[in-house]
Point group: C2
Chain length 334, copies 2
């Protein structure tokens, strides 16, 4: 390539990287040769030389889920704005695969890792203080010793349940996962309890329903069991929209009208939620802000390779999207 343009490799490099000290005539000569030979830089060689790949890893349980695919989309967009590309690693929510994803960065496949932790817990946090940048997403690991970007779990859940109460619900079910560890379920459980106590409503532990996984089928089954159990309830707060979608279906299976007899609200505000019948009310966290912050933070850590003086903790804002499932007026968006 350099020969073809009649210059040195260095000059070609300077042209490609837009360095200033190249005469226009030389630049043109190089560009012409590049076009003529259909030249492409060899990224592998550049990576080796620079010790950077320009790619960050995003480890998440499964891309094949409305929530995570949206997260991925936001992260890819944010990374693109910073000139980075994104490699996706699916961990199936297992602790082991999440640790595997870490070592991929150590292999210098990635300059840094965004880890959506589900299998790892707070006790693993120290394993994440490795020699390359890591930013943790999700609710399992917070407060260091690692940078973290998360959601306003407690406040948003409190607002969601508060909304159900405002709409007249008095016996409100919480559909969540295991609440014994610090994670999404326990934090949102805390918000649920807070909202009840705000309103002076009693807690009935039988109304806290735990599901093993956050799938559509789990929500549907849970709702059918709930109705069959004959407990009596007039509101349901689900810790994810996917669960809530399943719950709506399970309630339909059981002949329970929504929002007539039971009101339902979810969390995540998936695109699909606005188009369900009835449309699903939901907590809408600021996904874009989270992704942007996570990528920006990771990039900072990549660029200054000393260990950070202090660990960053970012929590996004949120709004409530009120729709038919809690008696809101709206059908589908027009």
């Amino acid at each position: 390539m350099a020969n073809a343009a009649g210059v040195s490799a260095m000059t070609v490099s300077n042209v490609i990287n837009g360095h200033p000290n190249v005469r226009q005539a030389t630049r043109d000569k190089v560009l012409e040769a590049m076009a003529r030979l259909d030249y492409r830089v060899n990224v592998a060689a550049r990576n080796l030389r620079k010790g950077r790949t320009g790619t960050i890893g995003l480890a998440l349980p499964q891309i094949d889920s409305p929530y995570y695919s949206r997260l991925a989309s936001c992260v890819i967009a944010a990374a693109g704005r910073h000139g980075l590309r994104v490699g996706i690693e699916q961990t199936a929510a297992t602790r082991e695969s999440e640790l595997d994803a870490l070592s991929l960065s150590r292999n210098r496949l990635y300059d840094g890792l965004l880890l959506s932790a589900v299998g790892l817990g707070q006790t693993d946090a120290e394993r994440l203080t490795v020699d390359h940048p890591v930013v943790v997403l999700g609710d399992r690991i917070t407060g260091g010793p690692v940078d973290h970007v998360g959601m306003p779990n407690l406040e948003a859940s409190r607002a969601a349940v508060g909304h159900l109460i405002e709409r007249g619900c008095r016996r409100i079910v919480l559909v969540c996962g295991d609440v014994d560890e610090v994670d999404t379920s326990s934090l949102r459980h805390a918000g649920y309890r807070r909202a009840l106590s705000d309103a002076g409503l009693p807690e009935d532990p039988r109304l806290v329903r735990r599901v093993a996984r956050f799938g559509l089928e789990d929500g549907a089954r849970c709702a059918r069991e709930l109705v069959a159990g004959g407990l009596g309830f007039d509101g349901v707060f689900c810790v994810t929209d996917t669960l809530a979608t399943g719950v709506l279906r399970g309630l339909a299976d059981s002949g329970v009208p929504v929002p007539g007899r039971v009101k339902v609200i979810g969390f995540d505000n998936l695109a699909e939620s606005a188009y369900l019948v009835p449309s699903l009310s939901s907590v809408d966290p600021d996904h874009d802000a989270m992704a942007e912050r996570a990528v920006a933070l990771l990039l900072t850590r990549i660029e200054q390779h000393e260990p950070p003086p202090r660990y960053e903790e970012f929590v996004s804002g949120f709004t409530l999207a009120i729709r038919e499932s809690t008696g809101g007026p709206q059908g589908a968006p027009r």
Copy 2:
């Protein structure tokens, strides 16, 4: 690293790559040193030397859609089975970005590219015969000169519409995109027409509804307009489940009972479809088979770098998932 183990770099390399000619004692010595130093291979250096990255690209319009995230999931799984990783490129369905994705492989970031073509058309097919392997997915480019993996569009659409007819529908709407070019819409349009003619039903061009995009909102709007238009129809075949989900919502907005007055069937069989109210009947193509075939084919092309003697054309099988929206018995899966 080599020094630490008291051997040459070559021996370390042989151990890492599992070459046979290493004495057990030597191997142990190396493994011990690797563990002690927490050694990781430098993938960039390996890539440079080998001229391969072990990563394939997957270019698709947007990861943030139930259909494409599922495709990605299947492809990542299939690639994993073949020891490859996957880089995802979002093209926003534009022709330009799809061509960009091509040059990323030329940069040797990827060993080959799986291109889910939406912006490119048949006339661009020749631009895809480049010096690195490409397999095209989707319905825009078929029959070479490039390898292609696709769906049984005509037969599956014919079966879907045939099913509506069996269930008593006589005036069946088709919701699709532009049918003037060869693509998903035109192929499924052909299947629709075939099913009508199979049954001796007349075609009414007013029942063919074109939408600009395949989003939830497009389906919903289309359904509302359809009802408002007062045409009279008793069945709807949508070319994607996302459109169908929107249509169900639009019909609900218009007070039209499904399946009572109108029956609806979609295409793709998304996970969500089984949990809608009513649950959505759909064509279920074999996504896993497509992904597996596409990755296997790409790998073949990567390994034998001569241009292929002939271009491969793979079409997956399909089944129909019959649910409530066409009068099927099932509610949500139990």
